[in-house]
Symmetry: C2
Subunit: 280 residues, 2 copies
């Protein structure tokens, strides 16, 4: 029996919609309530079977929820967690699915009403697609979900949240919000920055001569510019630090190329291949 | 009726093997002769049906060929074209499938015996896989093949070569070897350099927190280090020029991030998305 009978999902896009679909297909919640600003997204989410009920009224939507999952863009999460918290019943747990964690956790911690708890989450299951039409019930299966409890988090809330993500098929990893942000700066935010720079550095007149290598390397640059601006803005220092590491590695490659140092070039490329091949 | 009755393929790896498979499945050549240094690759190529005959003897293998396709690594192409040319009959045409064209064309032009012609080709159909086991009869279908005739190329040779690649399903684009190398520096070689730097700049301890974005962006870094070293070495100046353009774009992103200039950051990300989305 899941602890969360009523689950409210604030923001029914790709991630929120997929969580709803996953819960309903698996029978993991008594009720799934979708909350959103745009009626069209709510309509699609309901048609897809991602939610039982849909509303544009946050206060009404979260009132009976045992768990509220805030799935809005990073730049909106703090406000949305606050308005959910102000309208939750005592004992409710709130989480989010934002790509950055420290700034959000810090801002949220200050304003929680008594009896309402918040623990951040981040499912590593992004996509250049978006919206409830792209939702999939199995989006989180075998994906990593990072949970970032702070020192005030209650053991039972953390356990419930870990069980919740596990029930959707995810592998749950626990770490601090700051550790999360440093890691994701390297594994997600820097790759996005580099892919964007690479796409834009490709002259328009040679785009016809791109093949799968260019397409793969630049794929994430198709992501929503405003969503990604918010992510970068929310993890500025860690991204700039990751960028320094990237600069050093690229400088070593450039130096080997400029000096026609074949041994060094081969060694760096071999080390890069080894690092890449360490991930399936 | 194809002009090329006997086709010799020197190097039966992914590309050479795929060309052989494509020719044989479509009945486009009377005989396909595979030539290689490694008996094991030749055995696999024959088992896969990529060649009718196989030999380690270049002179014997090319003796009766109407068309010789050199599919060896970039650093070996010049030598292999020369040894093929020295043993071809008069009227034979030689091409290659190397990822760089100018250096090869220049080196080859000097030493061709009378009656033997060379026109460079580059099928944009690489892969991080390699070897004849990975060969596919349809590898070139809807892919671009660039052909790079110099001013000495005969019209009928060029036409035959264009028809040859077209018969395998490819879209043929013609340009000079130098234009090719500048374009590919931007669309293929720079992305590889950047992907390698990105993979290597990712600390080992956060690899468990990578997702599809990192996997896509770094995929090409799995390519063979020695093959890619040869490609970079053979197109050094153009790669360094493309790298300057990349540096400028990345510097603009960095500046926007450092100065917390949200408008600029969003604009650059939007321009990058537009450039990326211009390619399907």
């Amino acid at each position: 029996m899941p602890r969360f009978n009523t689950v409210a999902i604030l923001g029914v896009g790709l991630i929120g919609g997929s969580i709803g679909l996953g819960l309903r297909r698996r029978g993991l919640a008594g009720r799934v309530i979708g909350i959103g600003h745009r009626k069209e997204s709510l309509r699609v989410a309901r048609e897809r079977g991602a939610v039982d009920e849909a509303t544009v009224d946050v206060a009404a939507g979260v009132a009976e929820a045992d768990l509220v999952i805030v799935c809005t863009p990073v730049g909106r999460i703090v406000d949305d967690v606050r308005s959910a918290a102000a309208n939750c019943r005592a004992g409710a747990l709130i989480t989010d699915v934002g790509s950055t964690k420290a700034e959000i956790a810090c801002a949220v911690a200050a304003g929680l009403p008594p009896g309402v708890a918040f623990i951040g989450s981040h499912p590593l299951a992004g996509s250049e697609r978006s919206g409830p039409a792209a939702a999939e019930a199995d989006l989180l299966v075998n994906r990593v979900v990072v949970v970032t409890p702070d020192e005030t988090a209650r053991v039972e809330d953390l356990k419930s949240l870990v069980d919740f993500w596990s029930s959707l098929g995810a592998r749950v990893v626990r770490m601090s919000a700051v550790e999360h942000d440093q890691a994701l700066a390297a594994t997600s935010h820097l790759p996005h920055l580099v892919a964007a720079a690479l796409a834009l550095a490709t002259p328009r007149e040679v785009l016809a001569l791109t093949a799968s290598g260019w397409a793969d390397t630049t794929r994430v640059a198709s992501g929503d510019p405003e969503l990604w601006r918010q992510i970068f803005a929310s993890n500025r220092a860690a991204v700039l630090t990751a960028l320094v590491r990237f600069d050093e590695t690229l400088a070593a490659l450039r130096a080997a190329l400029e000096r026609q140092n074949d041994d060094s070039l081969r060694q760096i490329l071999a080390a890069a291949k080894e690092r890449r091949d360490a991930v399936a």
